[in-house]
């Protein structure tokens, strides 16, 4: 394959990545939110693998593979089991309605392109537009965490943030040292499991997983 084709393919994947993170914000159901997260991670793994291939940094292939295995398969499966056992079918409840959060998300994309698009402060080693994409993914994660009511969507927002940081590490430095990268994957996996356990505990104690029911502690 010639490099021109691959680089334009990477650009295409970057745009798809942005669309899936918009999808996560726009999705009215928890299940579709999880599916969008899985797609997001899948695209991330593909981008990482292509960056590794074009720039001959073979050590990046291991994180790419781990992303594929953990974030597109294992973690979404864990989430699907959780929502099946919790019996959630209802729509995602949000403090701001979906059109408005999409508007906010668009503004955040503009903001991140404005801040980092010129590549002055933070130069990326591969494709240039990935830096603002990574920053806006982190912003999107924060948006999901702050506007959603369900405890489980907060965890999804956290994971989206982590995806953004991963993309940032890949584009700025071709990923962290392998030991650190594997450790981060381990932490993410254990974190998801522990938060999952707590989601069940919240359900038992509060008879629902809306975080705005949790108002016992003040002052």
């Amino acid at each position: 394959m010639d490099t021109g084709f691959i680089s334009s393919f990477i650009h295409f994947l970057g745009m798809m990545l942005l669309i899936t993170s918009f999808g996560m914000i726009a999705s009215p159901q928890v299940a579709s939110c999880i599916r969008f997260y899985a797609m997001h991670s899948f695209l991330l793994a593909l981008i990482t693998a292509l960056v590794a291939y074009t720039n001959h940094v073979e050590h990046l292939l291991i994180p790419a593979f781990l992303t594929l295995a953990l974030k597109t398969m294992v973690i979404p499966q864990v989430f699907f089991r959780i929502i099946r056992r919790l019996g959630i079918r209802k729509e995602v409840e949000s403090y701001v309605n979906i059109p408005f959060s999409l508007l906010l998300a668009t503004l955040l994309v503009f903001l991140s392109f404005y801040m980092t698009g010129d590549g002055k402060i933070l130069k990326s080693v591969s494709s240039r537009e990935f830096m603002p994409l990574a920053v806006s993914t982190v912003f999107f994660g924060m948006l999901v965490m702050t506007t959603r009511k369900k405890a489980i969507t907060q965890v999804l927002g956290l994971l989206l943030m982590e995806n953004g940081l991963f993309l940032m590490a890949v584009t700025m430095t071709f990923g962290m040292p392998l030991l650190v990268e594997i450790g981060i994957f381990f932490d993410v996996l254990v974190g998801v499991i522990i938060m999952g356990v707590f989601v069940f505990k919240i359900r038992e104690a509060f008879e629902g997983i809306d975080v705005d029911d949790m108002t016992v502690l003040k002052g």
């Binding site: 940081l165 590490a169 430095t173 040292p177 981060i184 016992v216 502690l217």
Partner: protein, 490 residues
């Protein structure tokens, strides 16, 4: 004894505690593990030649005097908490906790100690990040031992807020790595996150990027260290956790996060040669003291009172580190040690109070002294000690920090600090006086526990002695550590 063997001890005892065995066995194993860990860490630090660095695991782990100081802190407070918990959580009677929960508690307790030790032993900054995230994950279950509504809420807030904070810190670490990798050849990739390596090459790091990285690290680890305005998880988690865990969270977990900030503070100082990171530390330190003050004055729950006091003391330590110099740095390190001992003593006595009075409200408690003179005097004097009354140890380190601020000729900062400290002192005196004196309402007399009382006595002795006299080897250790923080030692 090596670093790896020391790290192995808590993992081993944590796993052994999971064995389904009678309660007495779990309890024995639980305390034995903490005892062996504390004893071997003291032996290790004493035998290690204090001035040099000891490496392990391919330079990813490292112990220098700064790390050694924190290792002693973690294992010693860990031992005290374990002994106290052996009396507090393993009690018999109506309030007894089921053996399964106790086994799980013992497991996570040792795992928590392990992750904190890994944090301070990490030379690889990425590994340190993983370890700090590990402390959150290991202690979330310790915060929620009883599955009450309020403890689940506290644990959830703790998990989510600290994980978000830590995610921001990860961005800071990526920036540090980026600034290192863009200036150096690709052959040393695996070394590039090592603190010692970065410090040696600090002049070739890009100052702008490092400064940006420090802001993210400060916000990220500052969340974990309880610096205001990122402290909102702290009072909830500290007040809902069982007392021995609160002591660990407040005394050593906050200190470990501060240790993470310190390592980056040293790097920024070396790379930029400016007081950029110091000024930020002073700013956030002052905000923390100022934010904590009204909550200490108007507090209705004594465990939350102690939690806000932790915010205040972490702020003071940050001010000390920020001003730096011989006095500021030495004082701040000593302050972290003294705060750990005094605050854990107060949290242990809050465990006694909860046991005796069955309430966390300050207003509902009167006449501790009449009811139990030993507990009353320990609580009252420890409360005065934490507010900064001489002759207790906190006074000495606060004095060092304030004189550092004074000798830097920052009189406005000094005045603000003194004013806030006076307010906090008044608040503590009022609350502690109201709780200690007067006549008790209900004559409820729970059985005494020798283990729990002896921990209180030992803690009281420590804060009194440390107020007058710092043992020479310990003084040397803090001095060496403060040289590292100042960037003087190579």
């Amino acid at each position: 004894m090596t670093i790896l063997r020391l790290l192995f001890i808590p993992v081993f005892f944590g796993l052994v505690s999971l064995i389904p065995a009678p309660k007495q066995f779990t309890r024995f194993n639980f305390v034995l593990g903490a005892l062996i860990l504390a004893a071997s860490s003291w032996l290790f630090v004493i035998h290690a030649h204090t001035k040099s660095r000891i490496f392990a695991f391919g330079e990813n782990l490292m112990m220098d005097p700064l790390a050694a100081l924190f290792v002693l802190l973690i294992t010693s407070v860990g031992l005290l908490s374990a002994i106290y918990a052996a009396g507090y959580l393993f009690r018999e009677g109506d309030a007894a906790i089921s053996p399964l929960r106790l086994r799980r508690y013992a497991f996570f307790f040792h795992l928590f100690l392990f992750t904190m030790l890994l944090t301070v032993f990490s030379n690889n900054l990425g590994l340190m990040w993983i370890a700090i995230e590990g402390t959150t994950l290991a202690s979330a279950f310790l915060v929620n031992v009883d599955d009450k509504k309020s403890s689940i809420e506290a644990a959830w807030k703790y998990l989510i807020l600290c994980t978000v904070g830590i995610a921001l810190a990860l961005f800071g670490i990526i920036l540090v790595y980026y600034s290192a990798i863009s200036k150096m050849s690709g052959g040393e990739r695996e070394l590039l996150l090592n603190w010692t390596f970065l410090l040696d090459k600090s002049k070739s790091l890009d100052p702008q990027t490092i400064k940006l990285a420090f802001i993210f690290i400060l916000v990220g680890y500052g969340t974990k260290a309880g610096l205001a305005p990122f402290h909102s998880w702290l009072p909830d988690a500290h007040s809902q956790a069982p007392s021995p865990v609160s002591a660990l969270l407040s005394g050593v977990l906050l200190s470990c996060a501060t240790y993470g900030i310190l390592r980056f503070h040293i790097l920024v100082q070396a790379a930029t040669g400016s007081s950029f990171s110091g000024s930020l530390l002073v700013l956030f330190g002052l905000i923390s003291v100022a934010v904590a003050t009204p909550f200490i004055l108007e507090q209705s729950d004594y465990k939350r009172l102690l939690a806000y006091s932790s915010v205040e003391h972490m702020g003071l330590a940050a001010v000390g580190f920020g001003f730096g110099g011989v006095w500021g740095t030495y004082g701040a390190l000593l302050h972290i040690v003294n705060h750990a001992v005094t605050k854990s003593l107060l949290f242990y006595s809050s465990g006694h109070l909860l046991h005796h009075f069955q309430t966390k409200e300050i207003k509902k408690i009167e006449g501790i002294f009449r009811k139990n003179p030993f507990l009353g005097s320990v609580f009252f004097f420890a409360a005065l000690a934490i507010a900064g009354m001489p002759p207790f140890s906190i006074f000495v380190s606060e004095f060092f920090i304030l004189s550092a601020v004074f000798s830097a000729k920052r009189f406005v900062v000094c005045t603000i600090l003194l004013f806030l400290l006076a307010l906090i002192f008044a608040g503590f005196l009022r609350h502690a006086g109201q709780m200690t004196f007067g006549s008790p309402k209900e004559p409820h007399r729970p059985e005494k526990s020798f283990l729990m009382d002896s921990v209180l006595g030992l803690g009281m002795l420590l804060i009194l002695v440390m107020g007058f006299y710092i043992p020479a080897p310990f003084h040397e250790l803090i001095k060496e550590a403060s040289l590292i923080v100042q960037g003087v030692a190579s």
